[in-house]
Symmetry: none
DNA sequence: GGAATTTTGGTACTTTCGTATGAGCCCATT
DNA sequence: AATGGGCTCATACGAAAGTACCAAAATTCC
């Protein structure tokens, strides 16, 4: 934590210096404005990317959670999504039925509706598409 | 894909415009240089962060590599692994046969052997296990 | 060159999956 | 009360998937 503070202090100071130099270069007519602006842009672009890479924890949590929006967007019901998850875990219709305490026929019905909504012909394809849509890990 | 191209084109044009305006503002003496530079810095900082979040693939490539060792460890042949990949992409045996220029029967044979080695009973289960073993992305 | 694998392919059969259709139940909205 | 959506279940059929067993090319390995 202390290290982070020190690092950022140094960076902040460096940037301040950079800005001062830039301003001076321009006002003194040493350098062209476009060049300075481009430099600044590049530097901060790099800094932005660097920051994101240094803090991947926030990114990952953002990616791996809350698929709720897209699920409802696709018109998937809670039960259908539940079954989709079971399918992706490799269970058969019969097994899914046992786990959810419903008949295999019911599972088939849900699966069929699910495929229509995902425009899939096979369960493997449904899983693939669902992962592309980020509604499955 | 088309959407991505369009998006980036618009962004690129916007940035060009922004730079032009900035340059003009300064040369015309309308705005202070420090302000413009700060603006540019902020904008590109944001863009940098955004890019990293949108393209986590480069970060993940480090994690998603070289499954070769484990594949041979499981006794999977090259062909079997090839078919495993096709399965995970959602293709049917028939489609896989067409893509690899072999008969559907051949694919079935490979699939059957594959399942034994992965101790899977279904293709969805095979995919699941393969991903757990990190031999599939 | 011969042995061991791998790859290919076939037949035949069982099982699972997927679709179509119809129907009853429950719950919320109109 | 009526309508609609979600969940349940059944039957019946066709299409894939999966298994078992066998066998011939093609490769690789020694």
């Amino acid at each position: 934590m202390k290290k982070t503070v020190i690092t950022f202090s140094i960076i902040a100071l460096s940037l301040l210096g950079l800005l001062q130099i830039s301003t001076y270069s321009v006002t003194a007519g040493v350098t062209k404005i476009e060049l300075v602006i481009a430099m600044i842009a590049l530097v901060f672009l790099g800094i932005g990317i660097w920051i994101s890479k240094k803090k991947p924890s926030q990114n990952n949590t953002v990616e791996t959670n809350i698929p709720t929006e897209k699920i409802t967007e696709l018109g998937l019901s809670a039960r259908e999504y539940e079954i989709l998850q079971k399918i992706s875990q490799g269970y058969s219709n019969k097994e899914i039925g046992e786990q959810l305490f419903v008949s295999e026929n019911t599972v088939k019905t849900h699966v069929s509706n699910l495929f229509q909504k995902l425009e899939a012909k096979r369960r493997t394809q449904a899983v693939q598409k669902a992962k592309d849509l980020n509604i499955l890990p």
